[in-house]
Each structure stands twice: as C-alpha cells, then as structure tokens.
Amino acid sequence: MELNGVVHGYQRLHPHPTAGPRMQMHPPEYSTTTTECLVREQDRFMPIANVIRIMRKTLPTHAKISDDAKETIQECVSEFISFVTGEANDRCQREQRKTITAEDILWAMSKLGFDDYIEPLTIYLHRYRELDGGERGSMRGGDPSLMKRSGVGNIDDFAPVFRMGSQLVGPPPPPVPPAATVAGFLNDAAIAGGGGGVGTSRRATGVAGFQPYVRFKE
C-alpha cells in the first residue's frame, strides 16, 4: 500500500516481534535497506513507560495489556509522527519554506484524516503559549494590569498567566473556530530551528481580529 506517496526514512532494523520483547528473527546483520538508519532503538520510539501510562489512563482499571500490544502501539506512535511529518514537510517544500511549523503539523493531520484532533490541539497550543509567554515575561501570578492589556487575547510576549495552576486540558476551553485559528493565528508563529523556545519574539501580527478568549463574540 502506498502511504500517500510519503517515503519514510525511518526503517526498522529487524522484523516486527511476534511476542514479548523485541527479538531478532534472523542473524543480526543489517540488510541494505536498513544501513541508512543505524540509530538506537530507544531513539526511534517514544519511551514505552510514557506510552503505557497513556494507555492505562484510557483503559478501565482492571484491564491488562500484553507486552506485544505495548510495543506495537509504541511503534505505531513513531509511525504516526513520521507519517504526519512527511506530509507537513511536503507542504513546506511546495511552499519553499524551510521550517516545519505547528500549523503545518495541524494542516497535515487534517489532510490525513485526523480532523478530530485539530480542535483539542489548537486549544492546547493556545494554552501552552499563554502559560509559557507569561513565564518568559516573568509575570507569574496574573498581574491584573497586564490582564487588561491582553484581555482580548492577543498573544504576545507579555501574555500573563492568569490561570496559574490550571490544567492544560482541564477546564472547558473557550470556543475557538478551528479553521480560522490555524490559518491565521499560527501564521507568524514559526520559530526557526527551535529546540523549545516557544516564547521568544512572537507577534500575532498576521492575525486580523483574531481573539481566542473573547467568549461571547461570534
């Protein structure tokens, strides 16, 4: 099956396990198809403990998970990341951009059929920016005078943390129109080569009238 024309550089060094821990089913020599990818197995997958934690959160308390199921899902996550990234990367190349942005990821997910994820992800991203922007501006505690400034929800460097301690996925989110959100809001939010600095020099200047936290406006 052709995976939408996306070729993954991510390849396995050994066949899928049939049961239990990863076992090599043939001598440990690398075939020609896998020589490009001599990476440690731990780097190719999410840590299994994290995967299991999320699974358990989803399942009833009495549920048990076999080892092969855990590993399979662990592999599936990596495949998911590769799959979506490949599509996002294609888009960047078509548009002659060098940096894969959050918006590209969301676009790719939508294109590949993961529409249900878009809204929660958009909300998650907004909240993270709100919290992180507050920290980097050294404004813990939600100074009310600053709240006034960004009361209409313009996300800038000094967005205060007016919900300290709030869960990122807890309270009901403000209504956010997903399509407009992604296209407009994230337009200028790309940070080249970022390793995690999500609070620097971000201006939502490309956003015309976008107000994520105005609850009553429609």
């Binding site: 994290n50 999320i54 894969i100 969301l106 943390v161 999500v198």
Partner: protein, 120 residues
Amino acid sequence: MRQAGAYSGILSGGGVSGRTGPHLLPLARIKKIMKKSSVDVKMISGEAPLVFSKACELFIEELTKRSWNTTIQGKRRTLHKEDVASAVATTDVFDFLIDLVHPNASGDVDLDEEHVLEKK
C-alpha cells in the same frame, strides 16, 4: 518506587513548570523522530514537537480505545497485539499502520510495494 514529581508526565496538565511543561511525551525524542521521517526535513519550529506531544497522546488514546473494544468483544481483559491489528483494520485513518501490524512474509516493511492483506 519511582515517585511522580510535580511536573512528571503523570499529570496531563496540572500547573506551570519550566520550559518543557507537563507533557506526557518527551519533546526531544519527538523531534528526533520527526527529523528521521525524511532526509530532507530541515528545520522544525519549537512548537511542532509540542503539538505532537498532545497529538500522540490523542492518537494513543484512540488506538487503545478501539483496540480495547475488540478485546471486550472477545470477552477478554488483556489487550493483545491482535486487538490493535483489528482496530487498525477497521479504522480508515489508521490505514498507514496496516504494514506495521500485519508484517508481510519477509518481515521487512516495504513501503513502495502494494500491500497484500493476506498475512495476519
């Protein structure tokens, strides 16, 4: 026994922390996997792994729930790989995983071959 710190991945949200925040999945690892997805991935914005950390959580939740449906249909309490395979087979968006859960005869993943759904 390992203790969960205030900012561990146990909490899906829960409070402000440092740069990484209370994510369930490590951003650096996500970024590595993204880079490996294609030889020409150049630069990745700081927020892209972040979006993935949440997206992967949603993905795992969905895949797990659907797999578990098969488990309980079989009146079992242990989720097996076959249940995951069944979830993949019955969900359109998971088509890209078919090769992963149903390895073909050679055991290798051939990405540019037509997949033949014979072997399970």
